[in-house]
Amino acid sequence: MTVVADVSRLSKAAGLHQRGLAWRSVVLPWFLPLGLLLVWQFLSATGIVSTAIVPAPSDIWDAARQLAKRGELQHDILVSLRRVAIGFSIGALSGLLFGLAVGLFELLHDLFDRSLQMIRTIPHLALVPLMILWFGIGEEPRLILVAMGSLFPVYINTVGGIRNVDPKLIELGRSYGLGRAELVWSIILPAALQPILVGMRYALGVAWLTLVVGETIASRDGVGYLVQNARELLRIDIIVLAIILYAIAGWLSDLVTRLIERRLLRWHPSYADRVKA
């Protein structure tokens, strides 16, 4: 009898534990940021920290509302989003295609990989002055820079992912009668998917970083331009607002890629919830 009672108590504890976990993973991560925000507001309101150095959260909120009323905020955010979307798409897609070609074909690997690895070592931001000389401050230099920044993380992870597929699984595919194309589609690509997605996530981070630099240096709109302009007008509140916008954008894009990862890799031991397909 005692054993039975023990078991039921255990399972009840497990249930509580589960609920506790859900609560913890949803609510707890927000404690620190919200707490900091409150402390920050308090320090500014009481004058302990001068608003001339760091504006209060409420000031930043007001600045955001003003900019939004004039339509500037939305416009700049959309422009920046568009740049990242286009630049990242071009870069990641080329990285993926190059990576697939070089990873799958030994000949192309010998032909291109060394050169691409060498180009990779050039910090792409070092090309900013050159880009401005060549293209002025039009749209192209920013898109090219963002694309270059996104290309290599995807390329390297794609090549690495393909070349590191468990040879036992390739042997299995061969001995079970898969042709070359089937082998690539059924075994090599799925096995390389996780590193490829990791590369994409990393590339997205680089894309945002590149955009910040690109827009701050030479631009007529976008969030970076907002910062540039605010610096000239000594509007610290707008500068901090822009920083927060970048942070939110980075966080959101990370969230989206994580969701995609979770969906595509639902068979993977680290993602699987042991659910049906």
């Binding site: 036992k168 699984l169 042997e171 299995l172 595919g173 001995s175 079970y176 009668g177 898969l178 089937e182 059924s186 075994i187 799925p190 096995a191 998917l193 639902r266 068979w267 993977h268 031991p269 699987a272 042991r274 049906k276 397909a277």
Partner: protein, 242 residues
């Protein structure tokens, strides 16, 4: 008899200078069920991989012959080698061109009905092994090579799988080579038992007891003793070397 015949002529295999198999001569008739037993590391898996054509022998020649066409060979590997990104059904259907309808029947037979759409990550070791078995069986090859297919199964499931294998072979006879650690399993299922040790075939027993066989059969018990003796001396030799 349908199935492929196998012949090995003074076959040897070395890895980085270390000889694993040496001078193996072996003829397996079409339709024969051969079991291979032997101590761990004796080269049983190596032998199967050579016959499957996955590795080339360092010395000697291996020939497979099937009537009228190129012999179709399937090896069920010692590890399950399931593709984690494919469902149970997807794994069983790997490389299957026609006959897709058979998958349901075979999954039923190995006791995995209702789990077709699960990914391998949620399966137990024995379940994974049964998926791998179903995957090897569905192809109906001329030569079926099984490397310890029932190693991770409990006694009851193991008996059920042995029965399943026998039934499938009655329905569609073919050549089978089974590696096992279980002498009784070898004697229950096979026409012939090989003991592999010291890089060669130390014992070669033809065993033509009528089927179905029973564990309690005295003839089976005598042979079991004899083979276990052979295994034991092999283990002792190993210990002496170490």
């Amino acid at each position: 008899m349908s199935g492929a015949s196998v012949s090995l002529r003074s076959v040897g295999k070395s890895f980085a200078g270390r000889t694993v198999l040496n001078g193996v001569d072996l003829d397996i008739a079409a339709g024969q069920f051969v079991s291979i037993i032997g101590p761990s590391g004796a080269g049983k898996s190596t032998l199967l991989r050579l016959v499957a054509g996955l590795d080339a022998p360092s010395r000697g020649r291996i020939e497979l012959r099937a009537t009228g066409h190129k012999a179709d060979v399937r090896l069920m590997f010692q590890e399950d080698r399931l593709l984690p990104w494919r469902t149970v059904l997807g794994n069983v259907l790997l490389g299957v061109k026609g006959r897709k309808g058979d998958a349901g029947r075979i999954l039923d037979a190995v006791g995995l009905q209702g789990r077709e759409s699960e990914f391998p990550v949620g399966l137990s070791g024995g379940q994974r092994q049964r998926v791998a078995l179903a995957r090897a069986l569905i192809h109906e090859p001329d030569l079926l090579l099984l490397d310890e297919p029932f190693g991770a199964l409990d006694a009851i499931t193991r008996a059920a799988m042995q029965l399943l294998l026998e039934q499938l072979l009655v329905a569609r006879p073919r050549t089978v080579v089974l590696v096992t650690h279980d002498v009784e399993e070898a004697l229950l299922l096979s026409d012939r038992v090989l003991l592999v040790k010291d890089g060669g075939i130390a014992r070669d027993l033809i065993f033509d007891q009528p089927r179905p066989r029973h564990r309690s059969d005295p003839a089976l018990a005598t042979l079991k003793e004899e083979l276990l003796d052979g295994l034991l001396t092999a283990e002792r030799d190993l210990a002496a070397v170490a």
